[in-house]
């Protein structure tokens, strides 16, 4: 008795394919959820075993599923070397690649412009601060020393807790003109 059950458990449970070609993982669009999905568990010939085995079986089904994404997989080396030599698709016979590359190039141009503008803004702020400190050094040494942020000072500039982070929508009460939060 005992050896037979062991043997039965040792046999890997074979996933049976249903006639429609659907596996347990695929969700077919348009079919109402009330219909029973063809799943391997219902066609299983092996008797129901304990819960632990079912999970192993499920994980095995998922890991070794025959389903693959239907779009082109990304090339692995050495085929990916072609991406470096010809990074932009030019072959008119492949309109999908042309479309994809056009979109990505437009996005890259937008991001580059944003980055350049951001760096320019920060550079302007830095130059403004630097020239102010240089002028202050020439003008008043006491104020200059007080304005310096030196490494030997103990105090650290910290942000106030009430400095609000931007959100998708504003607060319901709008701007806090009466300083209600301060009195909490």
């Amino acid at each position: 008795m005992l050896p037979t059950t062991c043997l039965r458990r040792a046999i890997p449970i074979v996933k049976t394919r249903n006639p429609a070609g659907l596996t347990s993982g695929q969700y077919l669009a348009g079919t109402p959820s009330s219909t029973r999905y063809n799943s391997s568990t219902s066609n299983k010939k092996v008797k129901d075993v304990s819960g632990a085995d079912k999970r192993y079986q499920l994980i095995r089904d998922i890991l070794y599923s025959r389903e693959v994404p239907t779009t082109q997989p990304k090339p692995i080396p050495p085929a990916s070397a072609a991406l470096f030599t010809a990074p932009v698709a030019t072959d008119p016979a492949n309109p999908q690649a042309l479309k994809r590359d056009a979109i990505e190039r437009a996005w890259a141009i937008l991001k580059e412009r944003e980055a350049v503008a951001k760096v320019q803004e920060l550079r302007g702020m830095y130059e403004s601060m630097r020239s102010a400190m240089e002028e202050l050094e020439r003008t008043d040494r006491r104020l200059f020393e007080a304005a310096k942020v030196a490494a030997d000072r103990e105090e650290v500039v910290v942000f106030p807790r009430r400095l609000r982070v931007p959100t998708d929508t504003p607060p319901l009460e709008g701007w806090d003109y009466d300083m209600k939060t301060g009195t909490r």
């Binding site: 993982g25 669009a29 959820s33 500039v157 929508t169 504003p170």
Partner: protein, 256 residues
């Protein structure tokens, strides 16, 4: 002979040291007065809205991700016959009617709608202050950074609040003190550190600007210093400020 040369050198060094000391002393006691200005800003309250291209691009990338992803095995995540599974399936059914097909006949997966979140009341992103163009309101232009400008009482020009330093105070202390005297005390501000962010050097005075954030409260202009006030974006400031003044301060303002 050597001793006299040594003395001569020492005398020359002392003389040059005295000259330098006098120069520095005279520099600090220069006739130009030091003023402290305050660049008071209100940070953006809401996130920027995505442009049409950004929105289209993100939608395109999402559709690619859905198409190229491995299939979703719902029996791994949902217990068979549970209410969570049913809720998820209902959400997919509802979306399947509206959504387009991806390659391979699959529809994009959707998250079930969180009823609690969907029922929350939210405020409008475009407020009445936006529609009315009320420049005194802090509820205007919620996506943008707003800066405080005041109309000076003496010459009627629009400038950032500024005033002379008093006593032995330092720049950031003077900034808080003068700000409260010029625009009232019913506001909560935070001066960022001790370092000035910009300066204007005129013949008679030098103004060093400190950056500060307004956290809450309202502006009540003191008639002695300021006739009027406004909260403006950097682009609007270009209209209000004098061109020469704008040229000197525009670098310390945030573009957006």
């Amino acid at each position: 002979m050597l001793q006299s040369t040594m003395l001569h050198i020492q005398a020359r060094q002392t003389f040059s040291r005295t000259c330098n000391f006098a120069k520095r002393y005279l520099a600090t006691a220069a006739p130009s007065k030091i003023h402290v200005g305050i660049l008071l800003k209100r940070n953006p309250v809401i996130l920027r809205k995505l442009t049409e291209f950004e929105h289209a691009y993100y939608t395109y990338r999402e559709s690619l991700e859905q198409a190229e992803s491995r299939p979703f095995h719902r029996e791994f995540y949902f217990k068979k016959g549970s209410t969570a599974e049913q809720r998820w399936l209902d959400a997919q059914d509802a979306a399947a009617a509206a959504a387009e097909r991806l390659e391979g006949g699959r529809t994009p997966l959707v998250q079930p709608r969180d009823e609690e979140l969907a029922g929350l009341e939210t405020a409008e992103r475009v407020t009445e202050a936006d529609k009315g163009g009320d420049v005194k309101s802090l509820d205007r232009a919620l996506e943008r950074t707003l800066y405080l400008v005041v109309k000076k009482a003496d010459n009627g020009s629009w400038e950032f609040p500024a005033g002379p330093l008093e006593g032995e105070e330092v720049l950031h202390e003077g900034a808080t003190r003068h700000l409260h005297s010029e625009v009232g005390s019913s506001l909560e501000t935070w001066v960022v550190g001790r370092t000035p962010v910009g300066h204007i050097a005129a013949q008679d005075k030098k103004t060093f600007y400190m950056k500060a954030h307004i956290l809450s409260g309202k502006i009540e202009p003191n008639k002695r210093f300021a006739q009027d006030f406004a909260w403006l974006t950097k682009q609007e400031l270009k209209e209000y400020l004098q061109p020469a003044y704008y040229e000197q301060v525009h670098k310390m303002l945030a573009e957006f």
